[in-house]
Symmetry: C2
Subunit: 361 residues, 2 copies
Amino acid sequence: MKIRKRIITKAFPLISAAACILFLLGNCNQAERGEDAAEDQLMSRARNIFGPMPENAFPDGKEASEELIELGKMLYYEPRLSKSGLISCHTCHNFGLAGVDNLPVSVGHLWQKGPRNAPTVLNAALHRLQFLDGREPDVEAQALMPILDPVEMASSEEHVLSVLRSIPEYVDRFSTAFPGEDDPVTYVNVGVAIGAFERILLTYSAFDSFIKGDVNALTGEERDGLETFMSVGCTACHVRETLGGQTFAKFMTPRELSGEVEPDLGRFDATGREEDKHFFKVPSLLNVVETYPYFHDGSEWSLEAAITEVAESQLGIELSTKELDDLVSFMHALSGEVPEYARLIPALPASTENTPKPVFD
Amino acid sequence: MKIRKRIITKAFPLISAAACILFLLGNCNQAERGEDAAEDQLMSRARNIFGPMPENAFPDGKEASEELIELGKMLYYEPRLSKSGLISCHTCHNFGLAGVDNLPVSVGHLWQKGPRNAPTVLNAALHRLQFLDGREPDVEAQALMPILDPVEMASSEEHVLSVLRSIPEYVDRFSTAFPGEDDPVTYVNVGVAIGAFERILLTYSAFDSFIKGDVNALTGEERDGLETFMSVGCTACHVRETLGGQTFAKFMTPRELSGEVEPDLGRFDATGREEDKHFFKVPSLLNVVETYPYFHDGSEWSLEAAITEVAESQLGIELSTKELDDLVSFMHALSGEVPEYARLIPALPASTENTPKPVFD
């Protein structure tokens, strides 16, 4: 991918120059030439806004060790981190369901419901901040929170460390994954490991192929959708290779606006600043077709309705039927496969007599 | 595996004959010959009781189509079959945990607890009957029950069929998996598909390698454990390649015997026959080390304690320390890996506007 990209980038000025010469010579069919030029222009404009997906989401592109990533994967699938022994990261961020649970809000310990819709774990490591209110800086810090949240996994640092230290295979794996550390089985390292795993959870869409130079990666409708997406103003917020996840925007759902439910204070919860009330991290649109229901309260199941609502409330515009259809087509071009490595469930080591028992009352 | 097995089986009389000739000629070291003969004898005796694991658990060994098995796998991982949209077969029969949840009893819809410990799905298709009370004849019939059970997935046939019929990819996959059927999306076919998937969920242990002819597959302790297992009477119940799952036995747990809890009526629930009270299907011992806690109420976390208890209550014997240690070693030789194909989570197709919404109140 890297090599191919480099070739394309280097070849691009040559292709442009050749196109200019052909244009000057009038040496091709007008309509065809116009179309090619428009395609190039669309790609060129899109590249300025979105950029290509990286190979992984490690800060400098340098992947963590296989051992650290594998440990993180095991912890991601590990229900014994939860108080009940039943709930793992994967319970709400299911790789069969594009890294979400497709529920309005997640169900946790004792069947309690979470306050907000669970965003997908896919590509999350590329977001500027974590959680819908941006209260954690990275996936390493984020991963530790649901484990402790009383309505999610309802665990404690002590419980997590007791579980891990009671199982020799985990102790060995922490030692290998964190070489040189005297006491590698720490709660912080649990986050480092899960975070490392999350940094490889990237998906590559048809749109990403387009951004990387494949003019045939998008259908006509998808191209029209991309054109609309850029022209009507969606790109004020949905930027970079993630098409979101980088900035905050004020947003209230129809249920909140109508007074049906108390409006969520959003980023204010994280910062305490008055001006952050009802601000939320702009959702990434990667895999948006599969990560319904939409909005922070998971109140909208229809992608068409969600797009219509956001166009109205955020941009103050009413989309034509064609614009809406094209945008929906473009959204379909943002889906990609969960890496096979992530979807392969690891064999988790057996508990020992010292492993804390599940508590699910 | 099949070919190798055939060669070994055919070669066995020749090897035995050769051993006899060598014995008659006195043409080898006494001690060595004695050891080899004992090994062969142990293997030979074990083969009469246990037999080799088959390649799959289809009635005549003829595998179902790939399309049917893949559909079954998708349905196995499909939480939308449940009322809440959260619980799938995999929730309680987790491939990261040897096909169980490692909880005393499972947690289902609205965090309700099931009445009995969930047995592993691994190798279950080789059992003579399904469920601990044997109330269903095969995995195809069994698979349909937890979906409808109000304390498990709490769904209904109507809900399941509405979900599947609302998703074009499922309709297509049922058509391909059940060729020639006019209306293939039926509740019975859901069971047929999940059952087909379960019939490939076999695990191959070191003990199975031994049974298939590898004298080096077991350690000294494991061989001693096998010897004890056969000599003290465990094989009265734990027979065939599954070491159980074929017959019923009366069993009450210590908690039941002490009056701490009401004794489970067991197979009586399925047959209504007085003589079946407190009878349970003898658990298979494949992967027993990983499928704690033990007994139908999941009350015993220690394998040593479980073996000691069963030896006392079922066989009326008190095991020596060495016997117990050897039996535990032998139990470790009964574990095998979950097939990689099963552990690879499939991408589940997205819901449509017609898909019933989850109900988790």
